[in-house]
Amino acid sequence: MGCVSCAGLMKVFADERDVVTLRLREPDTVPIEAGSICPDLFVSRTLAEIKALPAFRGRRKVELGDLFEIQGDRSDSVIVEGDLRHVQNIGMRMSHGRVLVRGSVGLHLGAYMRGGEIIVEGNASDWAGAQMQGGVIRIMGNAGHRVGAAYPDEKRGANRGTIVVEGNAGREAGARARRVLIVVQGDVGDSAGANMIAGSIIVLGRLGKRAGVGNKRGTIVALGETPEILPTYRYECTMRPVFLRCYLRRLLDWGLPVPKAAVDGEFRRYSGDTTSLGKGEILIYAKS
């Protein structure tokens, strides 16, 4: 995995000569589908070719150059600026490179991405990292609902990759996820890890209701406020999970405010969901 602490990414963007910069010409309330804002598509294209890449404003097909002022070419480092709350699909299916979003961003950020890094300096709307298969997304504000989740027509959600939300996350984070690591620094909404197949969700704030409903093999870690546990989970034991030490040490390396005592701390382990396979777990930090 790349540098999730931003240091590497910020260093790259410090020299903006090698960066493709897109600035939204004017704020828009019409949804803009900009799946072509993807380092894979920019890395071998000239400025004119980048400007000619397709996008949709509502149901009308337009070119990227119609919506954005664009500078730079032939780079896999991309900066997107402006009021992007209605701009969707940024970084969709990207496999490498870096995207820095200066501000808040719309739906489906980094959906289906396979590699590379995305940093959002503001909030991200719903479905961030949906179906992702690799790479890193760091959202410095809040994330909407279903971060790292599966789309309704998909059996499995995010498979590999890391999503870090420095604010709060909405409902159904990591729903039907597999192998992904989702870290939420703030609170997370209801039904986190719903029908999770595998993977891990680590919540530093408050875990919402019905966490892990239908969980098969996933791990949900609650480091903050003690959550309500579904009656379909069973208390197993109080333990010091060695694997979790590896995760928490990485989070500390990334600069996340994990309580250092938790690295060596005890956790109450609940296994479930017994209405499903029942091999998932919720680990609750047992503060002294």
Partner: protein
């Protein structure tokens, strides 16, 4: 047939008035794996590491050569607990698979609070963890951390965590040097000093007891089926009965065998060890070779002692 070490030329190099013979150690290519063993405290990490690397002095009789590479601080281990790095050397990847399955399964997994991680990063892998996980009887689970898969096997003290596979790399086995001393106390003292100094060199092990071997071998024997036997050329008690390689006055010989992750580390260990061994009572430093028939890696003592600190 007796094997006498070949000396290249009659040059004289001395360290602390101890003659370094102009000869070479003949080593061979092996495969190495480096495992990081952690536990709740250093005591148990060391117990697990020592148990796993026990009875591993020679690939001939033990299937592998193994030893402790070093003690790791919590900051140096993946799980932030005290750890010990151990090295395993085998001839083939198949041997490595068997060795790690047996030793990790029987010695590390069984040791209280232990966990076991890959300490190298190469593409050649041996899948130990992915097989040992079946000990979990269906209750094992895995976690993927930055493309490293860890298996969690439920055991009676909690969970045994093991990395799915361990990396292997080409390495060197059988680097060596001989301490030719006038007496047993002198040779033992010199060998201990050498081992103590070499302990600080990373990436090497000295697989024999305490790092020292007193029963060096030559290839072949008068007995059919015995492919190795005592190194008669260096046995002082029969020096008049065989073609002895011992200078006059030498009454006791100790050998230090070195396995290393690469040539540079074996050379450095030899340099450090020889220098430390050149003490009072030591009459010469030599090395074991087989005329170039056994291994392709040759460590020439004069060349090695000419590097680093100046030869006195």
């Amino acid at each position: 047939m007796e094997t006498r070490p070949r000396r290249v030329a009659r040059e004289h190099v001395h360290i602390n008035k101890v003659e370094i013979e102009n000869t070479y150690a003949e080593a061979f290519e092996t495969l190495a794996a480096r495992l990081i063993v952690t536990a709740a405290n250093e005591r148990w990490a060391m117990i697990a590491a020592r148990t796993a690397t026990g009875f591993a002095t020679s690939v001939i009789g033990c299937g592998c050569e193994a030893g402790i590479d070093g003690v790791l601080s919590p900051e140096q281990t993946p799980d932030g607990r005290p750890g010990v790095a151990v090295l395993f050397f085998t001839i083939s990847d198949k041997d490595m698979e068997n060795v790690l399955m047996n030793r990790v399964g029987q010695c590390i997994m069984t040791s209280p609070t232990s966990a076991c991680y890959d300490g190298l990063r190469t593409d050649a892998k041996v899948k130990t963890g992915s097989k040992l996980r079946f000990f979990g009887d269906g209750f094992q689970s895995s976690k993927l951390i930055e493309n490293r898969r860890l298996w969690r096997v439920p055991v009676m003290d909690g969970e045994f965590v093991i990395e799915e596979s361990f990396s292997m790399q080409k390495a060197i086995g059988g680097g060596n040097f001989l301490i030719l001393a006038e007496s047993e106390p002198a040779s033992l003292s010199a060998a201990e000093a050498a081992v103590d100094a070499m302990d600080a060199v990373p990436g090497i092990i000295m697989p024999f007891p305490g790092g020292v071997v007193r029963s060096g071998i030559k290839v072949g024997s008068k007995y059919k089926g015995q492919f190795a036997s005592t190194n008669t050329a260096y046995c002082p008690t029969i020096r008049r009965q065989v073609g002895s390689a011992l200078p006059e006055g030498v009454n006791c010989v100790m050998e230090i065998v070195i396995d290393g992750l690469d040539e540079a580390s074996v050379k450095e260990a030899t340099r450090v060890g020889v220098r430390a061994a050149c003490k009072e009572g030591v009459l010469g430093i030599s090395a074991v070779n087989y005329g170039g028939r056994r291994g392709r890696c040759h460590f020439h003592l004069h060349e090695i002692m000419g590097t680093g600190q100046a030869v006195v």
